[in-house]
């Protein structure tokens, strides 16, 4: 049987990679004694699949994944037992059993929302709400291009078409928080960090930022969150 759930990757674990996350989930579920289903073949591994990978450096409240079990287990029991075996900073929630023919999470994925917390360095000129908002407007009018490493080498990818909405959530002494909504699908999507990079450049400021994925949105019916406009 299949269950779908969301894992949460706290700030202290932002720096672990997707591969580290996979290992961590597998081992936690083994410690919990859950009846995992394994792949056949040379190196059998538990059958887990993810809507998408959470990048190294990003924390998240909403990483949806699917896991297969060899025995019936209720979503509630799954979450309870798995959470008892999770390291600090990692937990599961919102588990449900998808109906027959539900389809894969990665194929249904459409968009994600991010919280981008920027800390400006002390030597940068002070940034108030007006200045930030107008810089952001400027940024969104133009192109944002990132360099993506692919098998064929490094190539530029335009980010602007993926951006659905960016708003300023908070501006304070030396910091600012943005809320970014962007497209995200199996074949590509927004890198929320690109918005922060472009904004810092436009402001001619130095700073570091923390990324947190706050929500994921999917196509189709069912308990998975959907974009309000779709």
């Amino acid at each position: 049987m299949k269950l779908i759930a969301a894992y949460h990757k706290g700030r202290s674990l932002a720096m672990i990679s997707h591969l580290d996350v996979q290992r961590t989930l597998q081992r936690a579920m083994r410690r919990a004694g859950l009846p995992l289903m394994y792949s056949n073949g040379f190196n059998p591994h538990p059958l887990l699949s993810f809507a998408t990978a959470a990048a190294t450096g990003m924390s998240s409240d909403c990483e949806w994944f699917e896991v297969q079990f060899s025995e019936e287990i209720s979503p509630e029991e799954f979450v309870r037992r798995a959470n008892a075996a999770m390291p600090e900073g990692m937990s599961l929630s919102d588990a449900f059993a998808p109906p027959e023919g539900f389809g894969s999470l990665s194929a249904k994925l459409r968009a994600a929302e991010y919280r981008v917390a920027i800390t400006f360095e002390k030597d940068s000129a002070p940034v108030d709400e007006n200045r930030l908002q107008s810089a952001l407007d400027e940024v969104l009018k133009g192109d944002i291009t990132i360099e993506k490493r692919t098998k064929k080498g490094i190539r530029p990818v335009a980010q602007r078409p993926y951006i659905l909405k960016v708003s300023v959530e908070e501006v304070g002494d030396g910091f600012a928080v943005l809320r970014v909504l962007g497209r995200l699908q199996a074949d590509g999507g927004l890198r929320a960090g690109a918005v922060a990079d472009a904004l810092l450049e436009r402001l001619d400021a130095h700073g570091v930022y923390g990324l947190q994925r706050t929500r994921m949105f999917f196509a189709g019916d069912g308990p998975l969150p959907r974009l309000p406009s779709e």
Partner: protein
């Protein structure tokens, strides 16, 4: 360290997960009477793979009032970040600067990590030399196999722990705690420590100083790793490691571990099974490995191996068996193993001809090797790794070419099988390293062969191995072996060379991309020394040796006897068959085999 500072540092490095801590089963104690930093002078992935450190982590944290935390050598990107941000090296558990700990304890697993000890001290703001440290600085200690010749690192250490650490390290922290409670000075503490068996205090060394190696007597009752930490990052040995046995009875004459971990002590197979269940369930690992110097010699191997494979298989846990010797009769067990994972098989004939194998007392015949290879091939294996050394005492070109002859026969044996039986093609790795003479071995008096001559012998191998079907030759770097030889048999003068090399930028010397032979050469030259003079030095049997003041239990007379037999090509039987009196009369009772 503040979270914002940590995040700034982490944002600057390639693998930030090396420095975050917080792993499952890691132990964070907010309050403690004594804080002990367990330090490994190499990166996280290597250090976390070291079983001894994991045992000490468990033992120390099990002690009331003691907090044991970890730190590893920061990779050059993190060293740069710490230096530029003006921050101190910190522990993984509480992110405390290492300078605030009571004890800094280094594990010494190989000589080529010594520069990282200095790097870690320096980045902690702790003066490198013991003589330069004050009452408020941490007590800096070390232990591990390299501690058996402590002189090259002695000036940097307040105390060196020689032998098994389980009991000795606990006694040390208890003494530290008492000294703290009673407000005694460091010098008084060191005086007390120097009275403990196994502890060497360099600053109190006199002509009379004798340090006797410490051992635990009953491995079965000795604490193990408790609930081991499960790293986020993939580490080198990412599995449950079970130590089934400590020590080895074989007496291979080049092998330091074979001499310095005597006598053999075993865990009962029931204990090992119990540990396997407990550790798998508290870690979630899907692989366990049985560790020892020679698992094939473990007295209950034929009981344990099938049982552990069968039971672990039921829980989808595979079993790795490193250090299985070729003469172990494990054909039946092998056929059971086939159902699990077909990892590669490893044989270590060490030398290419019977004559040289007799010299080194590797009591393995060509027949043994061929039989083991045949068993493995018949059982479906097609990947084989062969380990050899070149530059062994008395070696000739015939011995060197013997390596290729043996590889040729093994290859022929594989291709003699019918095509449908052998499946995939043969993948035979012939790994050839350079002999390094080590203290407390029968070859401790021997010179190392010069790098030019080693290179000539490597070329000889490269030429001859062409055309051996399925064979791939891997020769190890020889310049590094010279340094390793110099430090393994080094004296106090090398401490100056080491410090200079560190200042000149040497770090992570065992990593090819960081090894800087030019800087090392300069460090030696500035101290009027040459690495080659140390490495290629042959000691007369009656000459004093820098490590003479350390008593590793195995006597000099025995080692000398072995060296003489080696030169005559005479083998010495396994001491399970017949006691060879290696401890002499003094510590006879420490060995229960005879």
């Amino acid at each position: 360290m503040k979270e914002s500072v940590l995040n700034r540092l982490l944002a600057r490095v390639e693998k930030p997960a090396r420095y975050i801590g917080g792993e499952w089963n890691s132990i964070v104690k907010e309050r403690a009477d004594v804080r002990f930093a367990l330090l490994f002078p190499d990166v996280y992935e290597i250090g976390m793979s070291h079983l001894g450190s994991r045992i000490l982590y468990h033992v120390l944290n099990g002690e009331e009032g003691v907090a044991c935390e970890r730190a590893f050598a920061p990779w050059p990107d993190m060293e740069r970040a710490l230096t530029e941000e003006n921050e101190r090296l910190f522990s993984l558990e509480t992110k405390r600067p290492l300078g605030e700990f009571d004890v800094l304890g280094f594990s010494l697993l190989y000589e080529m990590c010594y520069t990282n000890i200095l790097q870690m001290l320096d980045l902690s703001g702790v003066p490198l030399r013991s003589a330069g440290r004050g009452e408020d600085d941490p007590l800096v200690i070390c232990g591990g196999p390299c501690a058996c010749n402590p002189e090259p690192i002695a000036p940097f250490m307040d105390a060196v722990l020689i032998g098994d650490g389980e009991e000795m390290t606990l006694e040390l922290v208890r003494a530290v705690k008492r000294a703290k409670d009673e407000g005694r000075s460091k010098r008084e503490l060191l005086k007390e420590l120097s009275g403990m068996r196994g502890v060497y205090v360099p600053s109190l060394k006199t002509a009379e100083t004798k340090v006797v190696r410490r051992i635990v007597h009953d491995l079965d009752k000795t604490p193990f790793t408790g609930e081991p930490i499960v790293p986020y990052l993939g580490i080198v040995h990412d599995r449950v490691a079970l130590e089934v046995m400590r020590g080895c009875t074989r007496g291979c004459r080049f092998c330091q571990a074979g001499y310095i971990y005597r006598p053999v002590r075993e865990r009962k197979s029931e204990t090992v099974m119990e540990l396997a269940r407990q550790q798998v369930s508290c870690t979630g690992y899907d692989e366990v490995s049985l560790l020892s110097l020679s698992t094939g010699d473990y007295s209950e191997v034929h009981k344990l191996v099938p049982q552990i494979i069968r039971e672990m298989q039921a829980g989808r846990v595979s079993v790795a068996l490193p250090s299985l010797r070729v003469d172990s009769v494990l054909a039946n067990d092998l056929s059971v193993m086939q159902t699990v994972r077909k990892a590669g098989l490893t044989f270590a004939p060490e030398a290419g001809t019977q004559r040289l194998r007799d010299v080194i007392n590797k009591n393995v015949t060509e027949d043994d090797i061929m039989r083991a290879a045949a068993d493995a091939f018949e059982a479906g294996w097609s990947g084989v790794k062969l380990y050899f050394m070149i530059g062994l005492p008395t070696e000739t070109d015939e011995d060197v070419l013997g390596i290729v002859e043996l590889a040729k026969k093994i290859s022929a044996r594989f291709y003699a099988m019918p095509k449908e039986k052998r499946g995939r093609g043969l993948r035979m790795t012939v790994s050839v390293s350079t002999f390094v003479p080590k203290p407390f071995t029968a070859f401790q008096w021997c010179a190392q062969v010069s790098p030019d001559e080693i290179r000539r012998r490597q070329e000889l191998l490269r030429g001859a191995i062409k055309g051996v079907r399925g064979a791939q030759l891997k020769c190890h770097y020889s310049d590094l072996s010279v340094l390793e030889a110099a430090f393994s048999r080094g004296d106090g003068k090398l401490a100056d060379v080491l410090e200079r090399a560190y200042v000149l930028g040497c770090r992570f010397d065992a990593w090819t991309e960081h090894f800087r032979p030019d800087a090392w050469e300069r460090a030696f030259a500035e101290n009027d020394a040459r690495a080659a003079d140390y490495a290629e030095r042959a000691y007369a049997p009656d000459a004093p040796l820098p490590w003479d003041f350390v008593d590793m239990l195995v006597t000099r007379e025995y080692l000398l006897r072995e060296w003489e037999r080696a030169q005559r090509g005479e083998t010495t039987p396994d001491c399970r068959e017949k006691c060879n009196g290696c401890f002499g009369a003094r510590y006879e009772t420490d060995c229960r085999i005879s």
